[in-house]
């Protein structure tokens, strides 16, 4: 199989998104951002414990990719997973309640920020070991192929995970067996505090599957339409039975690696430039206004709706009781 090297298919060919689509993307991205801001606030209040990795800045990646698949397709990711869950249609209250460690959380408070799942929405975690989700997602794709189902598994990984050995073990088998898996490398340019320049011998992560003949493209991950377009191409490749595909989605996280990371390894100018010039939500907002699809008042209504949804989620997450002490000993083994 020839390796496609679409060098920097960065920007979308043209804007084919309908007005409804744009409004949907705007709302979904805004929901993730407001949700994450609220999570950050609850963390600051001591209501969320442990590690909390926020997705702010990267919203276009999951929203764009999710619009390229159907609800039957699978999604798996690492620990920066709140955005993925919301994009999969999981309930914001259930996600927030898991962050606060409450009974109403998706894992009934036993998983936390990094470990959430929804079988119903085909979201398979939420995994805390860097790179661990890559063979797991490949196994989900193996399962689709084994059963002869026309489904694809989006397997997300960060730029930090691309240096884990198991990622390549998975790439090799996915290519060898032509498994329907799209590896979505969310390159937010920092593996915790180490920039790609300092951790990766080659900055072009979309080429990491070349040795296995896996086609890859680099995509502007701040542009939801570009992500969707590339995502559709990747998913179609899988559905045609041609095996795995790699998308490197160049993105940026505005916050630190986790809540306790002040992110001193990058300049304020770099962050400001991304926020001012490449913000994924502002971009869609501009398309909506410039295209006369909606006016400022209409956007404000959406903002209010989203804010209300997040407020409701936060309230639920604080009012939901802690899990019953008996939960300590449940779900360890299934009764045979």
């Amino acid at each position: 199989m020839a390796t496609t090297k679409r060098k920097r298919a960065t920007t979308r060919a043209d804007n084919q998104a309908s007005s409804d689509d744009l409004l949907k993307y705007y709302r979904e991205m805004l929901l993730i951002r407001r949700f994450e801001e609220k999570a950050g606030q609850l963390y600051g209040m001591g209501l969320i414990g442990g590690f909390c990795h926020l997705y702010i800045g990267q919203e276009a990646v999951v929203v764009g990719m999710q619009s390229a698949i159907t609800g039957d397709d699978g999604v798996i990711t690492s620990y920066r997973d709140h955005g993925h869950m919301l994009a999969c249609g999981m309930d914001a209250g259930g996600v927030m309640a898991e962050l606060t460690g409450r009974e109403g959380g998706y894992s009934r408070g036993k998983g936390g920020s990094m470990h959430m799942f929804s079988k119903e929405k085909n979201f398979y975690g939420g995994h805390g070991i860097v790179g661990g989700q890559v063979p797991l997602g490949t196994g989900i794709a193996f399962n689709y192929k084994y059963r002869g189902e026309d489904r694809v598994c989006l397997t997300y990984l960060g730029d930090g995970a691309v240096n884990q050995g198991q990622v390549y073990e998975a790439f090799n088998m996915a290519a060898l067996w032509q498994l329907p898996v799209v590896y979505c490398i969310e390159n937010n340019q920092y593996a915790m505090g180490t920039s790609t320049q300092r951790h990766s011998s080659s900055p072009d992560l979309y080429q990491r599957g070349m040795a296995y003949g896996i086609p890859g493209e680099q995509v502007d991950g701040m542009d939801v339409l570009a992500v969707k377009e590339a995502g559709e191409r990747a998913v179609a490749h899988c559905r045609e039975g041609k095996g795995p595909y790699i998308l490197e989605l160049k993105t940026y996280r505005y916050r630190g690696h986790s809540m306790s990371d002040p992110a001193k390894y990058r300049t304020k100018d770099e962050l400001d430039k991304m926020r001012k010039e490449h913000d994924p939500i502002d971009m869609v907002k501009k398309l909506l206004i410039d295209g006369n699809i909606i006016d400022e008042a209409g956007l404000k209504d959406i903002d209010k709706e989203v804010k209300a949804e997040v407020a409701k989620a936060a309230e639920f997450a604080q009012n939901s009781p802690e899990p019953d002490v008996s939960e300590l000993f449940t779900d360890i083994l299934i009764d045979a």
Partner: protein
């Protein structure tokens, strides 16, 4: 009502910090995501972003203030349509915001902490509100009678290797979701020929040769098991599973719990464990205690061909992740196996291979054979030894062990693995907890020597526990 801006925590352990700088002043309009202040602890500086939009109504804590308690009100934001008069009420009610916040109610995690630490700090007693998970089952299991395997009328002589293959083939015939994956399992017919014939019968969709890529295929099989397939993952030996132990424990064993019961993992990890012969340190290790340590896994270690067949079938049918520890040296040994497709042994039940009255010898896998031979020697010397074949390491059949010790009052444990934190250590603890008053001698552990496995034939023999060690230990606990 004006919105309270609270002093945030940078980490769960932070209780106070310095409000280093205000980036906004009263009257400024702010939007979500705007950086409004900077706070400092001794470890880091962090920007505080606005979560709500509005106008900065009042700054309560001036910049430069040190020791500001987490969750203290540091400012008020006026929502759209509110003016400064809205602050009149709040100022009065939250005058002592900072000190009041010290008694924050928002610490569910801290409330839970004492209970959890109590449980772990007092492993024996079921102290505190929460009882240890195994305290109750342990007590109960002592009450229950041991069930032995069903009695069958028809038997056939089989090697352990054949029994394992038949177990897989029978279960694959019965369930389309069962498949075998591993290095050399298909075309080569198994590195140790355990999967012989499976490719011919089931084809390459269900008998999958993998590259030499343990963590990769273990993770893949685990992902497939999350989706309801039932993979049998063959490790050429369990030594190589060290590459994959992250997925066995972090993914396979923990996901059911982490998902609140949503995602099960019906998978069997099988292959030869322990020492083979003259293969050196990296290929000769017993992993029983490694895996048995972990909740969320079941660990099985068959000895005979009947064990192998009945337990592997049970393992494949079980909805949980199972580590199935075989032994290379046992593969070629023959035993009588019930000639019945429905022959399945219960997981979690030990078998008394030989009854006795003077001393209990507990063993698993290849050590069962050595224990039985030792028992013969002991009988010649007038000591009646009871030999228990554990069959399952986790969950441990505490009942059978305790019952036997109550009868014999003396116990010898046997394993190939090292003594430190070994299976024998666990059994000694369990017996001390449940049958302390019945012991007439300290429990003796027969284990491998505390060294990496040497290659030289004479040294290897010295490193491995032998029949004679068991005889000596049994005599010692009998004070003979």
């Amino acid at each position: 009502m004006p919105i309270e801006v609270l002093m945030p925590a940078l980490s769960p352990t932070m209780t106070e910090g310095t409000l280093a700088k205000w980036n906004v002043k009263e009257g400024d309009t702010i939007a979500s995501g705007d950086v409004i202040a900077e706070i400092e602890t001794d470890k880091a500086t962090m920007e505080v972003e606005a979560v709500d939009e509005g106008t900065v109504g009042k700054i309560v804590i001036a910049e430069g203030t040190e020791n500001v308690a987490v969750n203290a009100v540091i400012a008020y934001i006026l929502e759209e349509g509110e003016d400064a008069s809205a602050l009149d009420n709040v100022s009065a009610s939250s005058g002592g915001a900072a000190p009041a916040a010290e008694e924050k109610t928002a610490a569910p995690a801290e409330e839970a902490a004492p209970a959890a630490s109590t449980a772990s700090a007092a492993p024996v007693a079921a102290s505190g509100a929460i009882e240890r998970s195994d305290a109750e089952p342990r007590a109960m299991s002592v009450m229950n009678a041991t069930q032995d395997e069903k009695t069958y009328t028809s038997f056939k002589t089989q090697t352990v290797r054949e029994a394992l293959r038949d177990a897989m083939a029978e279960e694959m015939r019965g369930d389309e979701n069962v498949f075998v994956m591993g290095e050399e399992v298909a075309q080569y017919q198994g590195a140790y020929k355990v999967t012989q014939g499976l490719l011919d019968e089931f084809g390459d969709r269900r008998v999958v040769d993998t590259p030499i890529t343990e963590i990769g295929f273990t993770g893949m099989a685990t992902g497939a098991a999350f989706m309801g397939l039932k993979p049998i993952v063959e490790f050429m030996t369990f030594n190589f599973a060290m590459q994959a132990i992250d997925h066995i424990i972090n993914s396979a064993a923990k996901t059911l719990y982490m998902s609140g019961g949503q995602l099960g993992c019906p998978i069997v990890f099988r292959g030869p464990n322990g020492a083979a012969a003259r293969v050196g340190a990296q290929h000769s290790q017993c992993y029983a205690s490694w895996y048995a340590h972990c909740p969320g896994l079941k660990v099985i270690a068959p000895w005979s061909a009947a064990d192998a067949k009945g337990l592997l079938k049970a393992a494949i049918r079980d909805p949980n992740p199972i580590v199935f520890l075989e032994n290379e040296i046992m593969y070629g040994q023959s035993f009588e196996v019930p000639d019945d497709d429905d022959f399945v042994l219960p997981i979690g039940q030990a078998k008394i291979e030989r009854e006795g009255t003077d001393v209990t010898i507990v063993a698993f896998s290849i050590m069962v054979g050595k224990a039985l031979k030792a028992a013969e020697q002991l009988a010649e010397q007038g000591i009646s030894a009871e030999v228990i074949n554990l069959r399952t390491i986790r969950p441990l059949d505490v009942n059978t062990i305790i019952r036997s010790v109550m009868k014999t009052n003396r116990l010898v444990t046997c394993e190939e693995g090292w003594h430190f934190a070994g299976i024998g250590s666990e059994i000694a603890s369990v017996v001390m907890e449940h049958a302390f008053d019945y012991l007439d001698a300290p429990v003796a552990r027969v284990t491998g020597e505390d060294v990496p496995m040497p290659y030289a034939a004479n040294l290897e023999a010295l490193a491995l526990p032998q029949e004679q060690h068991i005889v000596d230990a049994a005599k010692a606990v009998c004070y003979r």
